[in-house]
């Protein structure tokens, strides 16, 4: 039933995988250029490669992919003659679409982790891989994927509110993700600062930088000026993106099913 959706997911994964593999290969080549990285790490005071760091770093992969996948539903308006004339309720079509997208993001994340681990092995760093901080895994796993889902849900929702502008919305969303953290750290008046901080709760990069393995448990980033990027506990930080993701996806799915094809 989800034939078109699955083909689209396969296509997205092939693109993502190819680009990511190319980047990973480039990184491995650059890192091993000046002698063995493994021997450099072995000589360091703390010769460890924490697995949690790899896990958190890999979370950026599905976030990147989420932005691109999220315009898919909006693009379906352009193929309504095929997509909407299947003998299936439109809400069900949208739900299946989102389900396939979520599965695709999960596969992309696992793939990213796998490639990162492969890179570790190729660089001879496998002996230094450690599960130190393994307790953080319980929090990091749902946080990392939840943040990607939140980003997917938010972009889908905005494309449903402003239909027919999917690509522009994705472009603008990256501007938002990259600049809002910086603005939140700037010395604006208190009220504006609070607004900017609040906006960061919708920003995936804020969560990953806030709750990365090196900072997890410290609750918030203390910048140079002592500003706080995200307030609240690590548990709250995990719950917020999941809540936003679920609400955004549900609303967007309903909107898609009820919306008219733009003229």
């Amino acid at each position: 039933m989800q034939y078109a959706e699955l083909l689209r997911a396969r296509r997205a994964l092939i693109w993502y995988g190819s680009i990511f593999l190319a980047c990973a290969a480039l990184c491995v080549a650059l890192v091993s250029k000046d002698g063995s990285l493994a021997s450099q790490i072995a000589r360091s005071r703390t010769p460890v490669v924490p697995f949690v760091a790899i896990l958190a770093g890999s979370g950026f992969g599905p976030i990147l992919l989420a932005g691109f996948m999220a315009v898919g539903l909006d693009a379906e308006f352009k193929t309504a003659a095929i997509a909407w004339t299947r003998p299936v309720a439109r809400l069900r079509i949208a739900a299946a679409y989102v389900a396939v997208d979520v599965g695709t993001l999960l596969v992309a994340w696992l793939f990213t982790v796998a490639v990162a681990l492969l890179g570790i092995v190729l660089l001879g760093l496998a002996p230094y891989l450690t599960l130190t901080g393994a307790g953080d895994l319980r929090g990091l796993l749902p946080l990392t994927f939840g943040v990607a889902l939140m980003w997917y849900g938010l972009v889908v929702l905005v494309t449903m509110l402003i239909p027919g502008r999917g690509n522009a919305i994705v472009g603008a969303s990256w501007g938002y993700a990259l600049f809002v953290p910086g603005l939140a750290a700037a010395p604006f008046p208190s009220a504006l600062h609070q607004v900017l901080v609040a906006l960061n709760y919708l920003n995936p990069l804020a969560y990953l930088s806030n709750d990365g393995p090196h900072r997890r448990g410290t609750i918030s980033i203390q910048g140079d000026g002592g500003s706080t990027l995200l307030g609240g506990s690590a548990t709250v930080h995990t719950l917020i993106p999941w809540t936003i993701a679920v609400v955004a996806v549900l609303v967007a799915t309903r909107l898609w099913a009820e919306r008219e094809v733009p003229a």
Partner: protein
Amino acid sequence: MIAISGLTKRYRGVVAVDDLSLEIPSGSVCGLLGRNGAGKTTAFKCLLGFARPDAGTMLFDGEPLRPQVFEKLGYVPERPQLYGWMTVGEHLELIRRSHPKYDAARANQLIDIFRLERRKKAKRLSKGQQTALSLIVVLAANPSLLILDEPASGLDPVMQRAVLDLLIDAATSGATILLSSHQIGQIERAADRVAILRDGRLVLSGEIDDLRAASRIVEATFETAIPELGELPGVSRVERAGTTVRVFADGRAGAVASRLGELGGNGVRITDRTLEDIFLDAVADGDSP
């Protein structure tokens, strides 16, 4: 059978379709005609659930539009709406998986007729080929109700003929077809009835033969200038070109012919109206002769 009653659709206060009522019996091909912006595509969108009508009901073989209706209802849009990144074969597979009445043999036959390559991506097809693929994915699902918005646009004359033949075949097999086209010759060839929209309103509808019979053309040529014709009974329109006059008479063509003869007209003859004449008459802005 497709039954439309009181269909009205407004966009930001502008009435795109105004109280449209139309009934297309089973096995009939109805040509929907109108100038650009007359409301044809909007009416189609409402029928398919792509746009929400402000008023009116639409029934397909007695059923209101619901997902299951699409098992027997096919739609070919004005511009092909295909997945550019999918191949021809993948489009057919999509239809096979989603439409229970998919006919693989028919799909293969249509692929051969239009000479499409299964492995070619839709975005690599020419516009005409994309139009053909849009038609193939619909016809392969064996629909008994068809809505086609300019289905032959972008096709070469040979392919246009093939498309019309397919539609006529489908209607002969009992399919109900609602078809719009700016090429009146296509409608004339394929349709047995016609509905004409002007500014969103239905201004004329009926069987083409009946519409032709209801009004005829009296044509005459004068030696010098065309004289003042005076009051002619039952005349809807008069066209003058040089010394030739064409009078569109509603039912009293004989009387009009006699009058033109009395005025010195040569070679006075009465001819049937073409569908183009009927259309132009219907969409004229009411300017009198």
